[in-house]
């Protein structure tokens, strides 16, 4: 009986899939996405956590391109909203709103900055343009990351400069309300340059929306806060945490699609720490310490972004390597296969990025393409993903955007 029912459902699914594929008029629209690109408007790029090449960026704010997933093509970017230093973006779960941080108007770098902001925009689904709703302070400096909780009621920010995280309420109209939580990290780690004080680099909720994971580059900790989505509050102020190899510098974190494992990318060491995630206890337990740099590499990894393919089988992470103060090593996007049982990583490929300084990249929602944002070469490059092997192939197609440092997709059909 059971097998028959399964077979029946499979047939229905196949018919449905075929119907979707052959639906002529709607097809293009269905597979179209707005691709938003956040940029630095005030300077060219960040080197040793300080802005470099001040005043050279020609960017005016957030740009939008149409991404046609069926062909993997991007339209030329247009300015979606004028805003200062929108270095990180997040999209509301209902795809109606975009939230952008302004990483310090003066852009003087972490120890010298005074204020950062977060802005709310409504997305115009006919044009992709952004309509400004309001702006509030992020309650920190050199704010470098923003995410939104699963309910869409709270945006969360990591304030790299002042070493804190803050949570702000989203009102019913998408605009930003009061600060609901503020936590200052304390401590330091072994690196005498960048780890003299806390430097929160990212914050995002667990799949069940009950925890918030904070990566602190300055203290080599991955902090696990309880998150209350009724009040927007993080607790306790001194939560339990997982650690990475001293001097590693935790930057970005991602859960696997099944919510069983957590992957922590460390900026300086380039190591990806694989953790088993226990959602009932809110604990991360070390499973593997995976190296992303080749064994014969000497220098700094400057790893930046980490993402898992929607099929859950492959992990991607970007590296802005340097051999010395002056000598840049080949930048790369590392591809790793994920063991479906153990969560562990095995290297698949080290791909070029199609440019210089891949601070950010994004896999499109269909999982067919990876778009690499190269901050220093001012281009977003389209890679085809082989979904059976995880491997990347440069399509040879790219668009020009000044200092692209964050990419987010929104379906054109809301």
């Amino acid at each position: 009986m059971r097998r028959i029912r399964h077979a029946f459902f499979s047939v229905i699914l196949i018919i449905f899939a075929l119907a979707t594929l052959t639906k002529p008029a709607a097809r293009a629209q269905d597979n179209d996405y707005f691709m938003y690109v956040g940029t630095y408007t005030g300077f060219k790029y960040v080197h040793h956590s300080r802005p470099f090449g001040k005043g050279e960026a020609k960017s005016k704010g957030i740009y939008v391109s149409r991404f046609h997933a069926a062909s993997g093509e991007l339209t030329p970017p247009e300015l979606a909203a004028e805003i200062i230093n929108p270095s990180f973006l997040t999209i509301s779960p209902d795809h109606k709103y975009l939230y952008a941080i302004s990483e310090d108007p003066l852009s003087l770098g972490p120890p010298l900055d005074h204020s950062s902001y977060v802005s709310a925009f409504a997305i115009d689904h006919s044009t992709g343009k952004l309509r400004f709703l309001n702006r509030v302070p992020s309650s920190g400096t050199s704010t470098c990351f923003v995410s939104i909780d699963k309910t869409g009621k709270y945006v969360m920010m990591a304030n790299f400069g002042s070493g804190s995280v803050s949570v702000v309420r989203v009102r019913d109209d998408g605009s930003l309300g009061e600060l609901t939580s503020f936590i200052q990290d304390v401590g330091h780690s072994v690196d005498r340059g960048i780890q003299m004080e806390p430097h929160t680099h990212s914050i995002l909720v667990s799949p069940d929306n009950k925890y918030a994971i904070v990566s602190d580059l300055g203290i080599d900790k991955v902090l696990i806060f309880n998150f209350d989505d009724k009040t927007g509050k993080l607790s306790p102020p001194d939560p339990h945490f997982a650690t990475v190899y001293p001097g590693g510098g935790p930057r970005h974190f991602t859960f696997d699609p099944a919510g069983k494992f957590g992957y922590q990318l460390s900026e300086m060491s380039g190591i990806v720490d694989v953790f088993a995630w226990d959602p009932s206890q809110g604990t991360l337990t070390t499973v593997q310490r995976a190296h992303t740099t080749p064994h014969d590499f000497f220098g700094s990894s400057h790893s930046a972004e980490i993402e898992i393919h929607p099929n859950g089988k492959y992990l991607y992470e970007s590296n802005r390597r340097t051999k010395s103060e002056t000598e840049r090593a080949p930048d790369s996007i590392g591809v790793f296969a994920i063991d479906s049982k153990a969560g562990t990583l095995t290297p698949v490929q080290e791909s070029p990025t199609g440019g210089v300084m891949p601070r950010n990249f994004k896999i499109d929602p269909t999982g067919e393409y990876l778009l690499s944002g190269n901050e220093l070469s001012n281009n977003v490059v389209i890679f085809k993903i082989d979904t059976r092997t995880g491997k990347l192939t440069n399509t040879g197609r790219e668009i020009a955007v000044d200092t692209p440092v964050c990419i987010q997709f929104v379906p054109v059909q809301p």
């Binding site: 108007p105 309650s139 702000v168 309300g177 009061e178 600060l179 503020f182 304390v186 102020p237």
Partner: protein
């Protein structure tokens, strides 16, 4: 025509003030006195909390300025570490900084909070409206702008100042401004980073004055009462003596002069205030310590008498490790033309560690909050000489560190 119109305005003003006076008589001439406390510890030592406190939160007494009678303090609201209080200009709401629930001290604290309370005009009890994060740590000071639409906070631990909007119902809304201070001063322990200690608007509500103990500067931000924003990021400032540690600041009654009290040096710097340009210029560095005193001043609070003639400042002096005192409240006469200070007297505060004191709105009495001895001592003020005379009134309150007045109804 012009004189007639002026006359009409004058007549109208007289009627209006008569009406106001009548409505004022429906109040009792009495005041509620609110006492903020530390609930988690009794005092700070080496920048860390020490001792124990049995306080439960904010206390309230009824006070008759005509007789000096103060009722026994009662709990007005249970709350953690209400270290600083501010009253809304409409006297309906009270705002309170919770200086970090864990009370671990500046370098270890994670969060502070600000709470809005509605004041019951009959019994002085406080009803909680809401509580929000201050956006900083070891928040030690808060004040309200002249419009009553913004509350401003100094976050000592995390080196920032923040402004929150006040909604029409008195509850707290979104953050309107955040400014991080950077730099350091001479003292390796307390000045290794910036430490904003107070923030107050100018009399015309167009500027916000921030005393930063860590960088020895008093900053003058522009304040936009339409948005609550502070600007610019790098605000102009006036430099104080190295290692002085600016803590609290007051304007004189006419808004011509500013007085900056320095915690470590005990100096009061007298500054000419130019409201047109928003600038402070140094007139006098007035010494509050006796010339033969050797030790630290730990000066805390500064206030000017409502008659504008006298300035008061408190000192929690020490002469070496564990050699406390003598604590004093210094009284100074203000030159009405030049704004300069001349010493009148230094009196014992009726307890130990006078972190805070307050002069009642009629100018008749001074309440000295003695943090370490756990008492509030009442002094009679001579309005002609400025001198303080101790009274027998002595209120037992654990770790009293902030005192404010609200007119009471009958």
């Amino acid at each position: 025509m012009k004189p007639i119109r002026s006359l009409a305005v004058l007549a109208f003003s007289v009627v209006l003030s008569a009406a106001c006076a009548r409505s004022a008589t429906s109040s009792s001439g009495e005041y509620f006195v609110y006492f903020g406390t530390y609930t988690g510890f009794t005092y700070m030592k080496e920048g860390l909390p020490a001792g124990t406190s049995h306080s439960k939160g904010i206390y309230v007494s009824r006070f008759q300025p005509a007789t000096g009678v103060v009722s026994t303090p009662e709990v007005a609201a249970e709350i953690v570490n209400p270290a600083f209080l501010a009253v809304h200009p409409n006297h309906k709401f009270l705002y309170v900084a919770t200086e970090d629930p864990l009370s671990l001290g500046p370098d270890f604290d994670h969060e502070s909070f600000v709470s809005a309370f509605a004041i019951d005009p009959n019994n002085g009890q406080l009803r909680l409206l809401n509580t929000l994060p201050t956006g900083g740590t070891s928040t030690c000071y808060l004040s309200i702008d002249k419009t009553g639409r913004y509350v401003m906070m100094a976050n000592f631990g995390s080196s920032s100042v923040t402004v929150l909007r006040i909604k029409d119902d008195g509850s707290l809304g979104e953050q309107a401004a955040f400014m991080k201070h950077i730099g350091h001063g001479r003292d390796p322990s307390f000045q290794s980073q910036a430490h904003p200690h107070s923030i107050d608007v100018s009399p015309d509500n167009k500027y916000a004055i921030v005393s930063d103990l860590g960088v020895d500067k008093v900053f003058v931000y522009k304040f936009d009462a339409a948005t609550g924003a502070l600007s610019p990021d790098e605000a102009p400032s006036v430099e104080m003596e190295e290692g002085g540690g600016p803590r609290h600041f007051v304007f004189d009654a006419r808004g011509k002069f500013g007085y900056s009290l320095k915690e470590m040096s005990g100096f009061v710097t007298v500054l000419a205030w130019d409201p047109a340009n928003g600038t402070l210029s140094n007139i006098q560095d007035a010494r509050t310590l006796e010339p033969n005193f050797v030790g630290g001043s730990d000066s805390a609070e500064i206030a000017i008498h409502p008659n504008g003639k006298f300035l008061y400042e408190s000192n929690r002096r020490f002469r070496g490790p564990d050699l406390w005192g003598p604590d004093t409240i210094g009284v100074f006469a203000i030159d009405p033309e030049k704004g300069t200070l001349s010493a009148v007297e230094q009196v014992a505060p009726g307890g130990t560690m006078p972190r805070n004191f307050a002069i009642d709105p009629t100018g008749s009495y001074l309440f000295s909050g003695n943090e370490y001895s756990g008492n509030v001592a009442l002094f009679r003020i001579n309005g002609d000489t400025g001198k303080l005379t101790p009274t027998k009134t002595d209120l037992k309150i654990d770790a009293p560190v902030s005192i404010v007045f609200v007119p009471a109804e009958k």
